[in-house]
């Protein structure tokens, strides 16, 4: 909280001191105050699937309310009903004790309810300023850009983080986009802000910055926050009240300071469970790292805009070793993964797998056992319109036993394909457990599980993984981490690119830090220090720029 006491005067209007009294710049209190919200008996079906079943909850005005639940529990669906993005089949919402019908997001906006979605809702082809104005909605027919720009600059000056108004959104890093989403809502002076996993693309420091500011606003009585998250740390640090959903039904609610993390976790999964993940993932101490599996030499590649994204990049991963690549998103990680998976052509440099040049062809992948979990798996590793079963067979649909026939197989056997998919769905806990659904209808976490199931079912020798637990609940995170460690212990080489430093520290044998397309630091897991890695991740000037005020 201390950080808000050193804001310039202009900022104070937005915040209060610790007692919750307002310290308005010229003694005025803001005109609009936080609102309360109640959901009563909300139900929603998607076809056969009951995503929400008679859910009621109460969010007090000025509170910081956290919503927890496993992947696919219905959290996003609930809040989308609330803001009018979906129509609930049953139930209604009370705002400040009065019933309102919210037919579409516009209605919610008029009531002062704003939402930051799990997926970005920015128009990448438009500028920061245009995105902000469009969100405001009450635009005159002809815009007075001069006046609007002044207004926007004044607003930006009051915020703890700033973005360039004229910048095109496509050029922003993921973390900056997330900040813009939140700025957008603050610009609209919301009284109730709903956040769907707002911190998944932020570094821990950025997350604290954003949540700390919102927390300050709830203390000032200006804002009510309803936040969906998978991170217990954020719940305990910022939340007042927590509500848990389980498979579409409310599983409990309580004040954060009187609910332990174990209790929350128990409510989420419905059984007693150990949250403290044992650090059993480490390699057996006597195991020697094997031969070099993946070698990258002097790799250069460009991003979509044609500017250099990876420069003179080099690394080695040995068999039985997990190498973690840390870094703030937008420093070339995405391009690196794309080059390794054959989605992007390198400008120069070599990629060797088992000492042989590697071009990521299907034959080479099979020959060397190279498998992967790219980020945004729905886009990068799935055919969204195909069923879960078909997606799970993308690696082996043309091989026995899934298909039969001359040499490689030209006749796919659906029975085999479905049987295999059902096994994997069972083994990896993909939900809903119906492999015939189109994969695009699964929640984000379940898509991730389905893809990981497919990849790990293969004879993996080299695994390339990007943000494997992005948006996953703690139980799924646990499972996936265990499976990665098992694969490594079984002799696979693993390259783990992640924005989550905790994950890297927990799993990797060696950590590299990537900044502006090069490796700037390397350290073994034993001697790794968070603070040092954090400093290298932040680079030199990039971070300072964002921490204005």
């Amino acid at each position: 909280m201390v950080r808000f006491l050193i804001q310039p005067p202009c900022l104070r209007r937005w915040f209060s001191d610790m007692d919750g009294t307002l310290v308005g710049a010229n003694g005025q209190t803001p005109g609009r105050d936080a609102i309360s919200l109640a959901a009563i008996g909300v139900s929603k079906c998607f076809g056969e699937l009951q995503a929400l079943d008679d859910v009621s909850m109460q969010v007090d005005a000025g509170s910081f309310h956290c919503l927890l639940g496993e992947n696919g529990a219905g959290k996003s669906t609930l809040v989308k009903c609330l803001v009018g993005y979906y129509r609930p089949d049953q139930g209604n919402f009370l705002i400040d004790g009065r019933e309102y019908e919210v037919r579409n997001p516009r209605d919610a906006q008029h009531l002062g309810i704003g939402m930051v979605y799990q997926h970005f809702t920015l128009a990448p082809g438009l500028t920061v300023a245009e995105n902000l104005l469009l969100a405001r909605g009450d635009l005159p027919f002809v815009l007075d850009w001069k006046r609007e720009k002044t207004g926007l600059s004044e607003f930006m000056a009051q915020m703890p983080f700033r973005l360039e108004l004229g910048a095109q959104v496509a050029d922003l890093a993921a973390g900056e986009k997330q900040k813009l989403e939140i700025l957008k809502q603050l610009y609209l002076r919301r009284r109730l802000l709903i956040l769907d996993e707002p911190t998944s693309v932020l570094t821990p420091a950025e997350a604290d910055e954003v949540l700390g500011m919102l927390h300050g606003m709830t203390r000032a009585g200006q804002l009510t926050v309803l936040m969906i998250t998978h991170k217990f740390r954020e719940v305990t640090a910022y939340g007042d009240v927590v509500t848990v959903l389980r498979r579409g039904r409310p599983a409990g609610t309580g004040r954060v300071n009187s609910t332990s993390v174990e209790q929350m976790a128990e409510m989420m999964v419905g059984t007693h469970i150990h949250v403290a993940v044992e650090r059993s993932q480490g390699r057996a101490p006597d195991a020697e790292p094997g031969p070099v599996r993946l070698q990258i030499e002097a790799l250069q590649a460009e991003n979509d805009r044609g500017t250099p994204a990876i420069r003179q990049f080099a690394l080695q991963v040995r068999a039985g070793e997990m190498v973690g690549v840390a870094g703030v998103s937008g420093n070339g990680q995405k391009e690196l993964i794309e080059v390794l998976l054959g989605q992007r052509a390198a400008i120069s440099g070599n990629i060797l797998v088992d000492g042989e040049p590697y071009q990521a062809t299907r034959v080479q992948m099979r020959q060397h056992g190279v498998y992967s979990l790219p980020e945004e798996p729905l886009k990068n590793a799935c055919v969204p319109g195909m069923s879960v079963a078909e997606n799970m067979a993308l690696r082996n649909f043309d091989l026995p036993p899934v298909s039969l026939g001359w040499e490689t197989g030209w006749h796919v056997r659906p029975a085999q394909l479905n049987r295999r998919a059902r096994e994997l769905v069972e083994m990896f806990g993909v939900r809903p457990a119906d492999p015939s659904l189109p994969i695009a209808s699964l929640s984000g976490g379940n898509v991730q599980r389905a893809v990981l199931a497919r990849e790990l079912a293969q004879p993996v020798r080299l695994l390339i993984v990007a943000n494997p637990v992005f948006g996953l609940d703690f139980a799924a995170t646990e499972t996936i981490h265990r499976r990665l460690a098992e694969a490594r212990n079984g002799g696979a080489a693993i390259l783990l690119v992640s924005e989550d430093l905790d994950e890297l520290l927990e799993l990797s044998d060696r950590i590299l830090v990537m900044s502006e397309g090069v490796i700037v630091y390397e350290v073994t897991a034993d001697s790794a220090e968070r603070a040092v890695i954090g400093r290298y991740m932040a680079g030199h000037e990039t971070h300072d720029k964002e921490l204005v005020c």
């Binding site: 082809g125 635009l139 815009l143 052509a345």
Partner: protein
């Protein structure tokens, strides 16, 4: 080989090219501006070729019946608008692909125009007036080259107006938002489908006018061979112009010049081989398209919702 001393006078060739460019480019200009609006909303309307032909027919018919070429223009725009609405509505049905609908609409538009236009091949409709800008010169060639049609300046002004409107008006911003990220537009409460239908309708209106130019100014009659694929080439042109209306206008002039190359050479006395140059616009289309797409990079400036963009 009129000139025994050999060669073709470069000056008069350029003049002929300029005049031809301004004539030939007008339909390109209108169709591409229309397509630009439609594509900004996130949809492609390949049916504009059909709209163009249908606009040419209906414009000619109405001009003939009423005696006013301006009413003809209006009728052409109106019928284009209807075809646009039809495309827009069809594409709004679930699981319908805009490119497939566009191809169907192209065949529908041309087919219907040929069918309804049969009785219009003989009669002569009044043509659009032209502006004589070359009155200061006594050179008939200059006079001829600078005799421009009224639609050309209207189109150029429209191009600048559109560029301005995309940035400075509420409708412009909303249109770009819908074309850039439909989910975001929906989340902000903008009506995605109505905006797209409206954009396709306006696009059809402009394409219809482009068609009326063919039948009411140059060549200035109705027949089934009137269009030579301008409607389709305009789609390529919009991509080349990176969805900027003013660049659309420049590209239209370039295409116009390419289209005028063959006739200009012919008018300069070249008697053989000039028809090779008639292929210039098509060759130009191919060259520009292969230049626009460089592998591995997304198309800068492309509306994110277009089915040809993968972002």
């Amino acid at each position: 080989m009129s000139d025994a001393s050999g060669g073709i006078a470069v000056g008069s060739l350029l003049l002929a090219l300029l005049g031809g460019a301004m004539r030939v480019s007008t339909p390109f200009l209108f169709v591409s501006l229309g397509e630009c609006i439609t594509e900004k909303s996130g949809r492609i309307n390949l049916g504009l070729e059909g709209t163009l032909v249908f606009g040419a027919m209906s414009g000619y018919g109405v001009a003939y019946l009423t005696g006013s070429p301006w009413l003809g223009i209006l009728a052409a725009g109106g019928s284009g608008l209807l075809l646009g609405v039809m495309h827009g509505l069809l594409c709004s049905l679930p699981r319908v692909n805009d490119i497939a609908v566009g191809i169907a609409m192209m065949l529908f538009g041309t087919g219907l125009a040929f069918f309804l236009g049969k009785p219009l091949i003989q009669p002569v409709a009044p043509t659009l007036p032209s502006l004589v800008l070359g009155g200061w010169s006594s050179n008939t060639q200059i006079q001829e080259a600078l005799r421009i049609n009224v639609l050309l300046p209207i189109g150029i002004v429209l191009a600048f107006a559109l560029r301005w409107a995309f940035v400075h008006t509420r409708w412009g911003l909303a249109l770009r938002l819908v074309g850039d990220n439909a989910a975001a537009a929906r989340a902000l409460g903008y009506p995605v489908i109505p905006v797209r239908i409206a954009a396709t309708a306006v696009g059809g209106f402009l394409a219809g006018i482009g068609g009326a130019f063919l039948s009411l100014y140059y060549p200035g009659s109705w027949n089934e061979g009137l269009s030579s694929g301008q409607g389709l080439m305009a789609v390529a042109l919009v991509i080349f112009a990176r969805w900027d209306p003013v660049r659309c206008a420049l590209a239209a002039l370039l295409f116009g010049a390419a289209g005028a190359l063959g006739p200009a050479l012919q008018s300069q006395g070249m008697t053989s081989g000039y028809y090779l140059f008639n292929a210039a616009p098509y060759v130009l289309t191919l060259i520009l398209m292969s230049m626009s797409w460089s592998s591995g990079r997304s198309l800068a400036g492309a509306p994110g919702e277009l089915s040809l963009v993968n972002r």
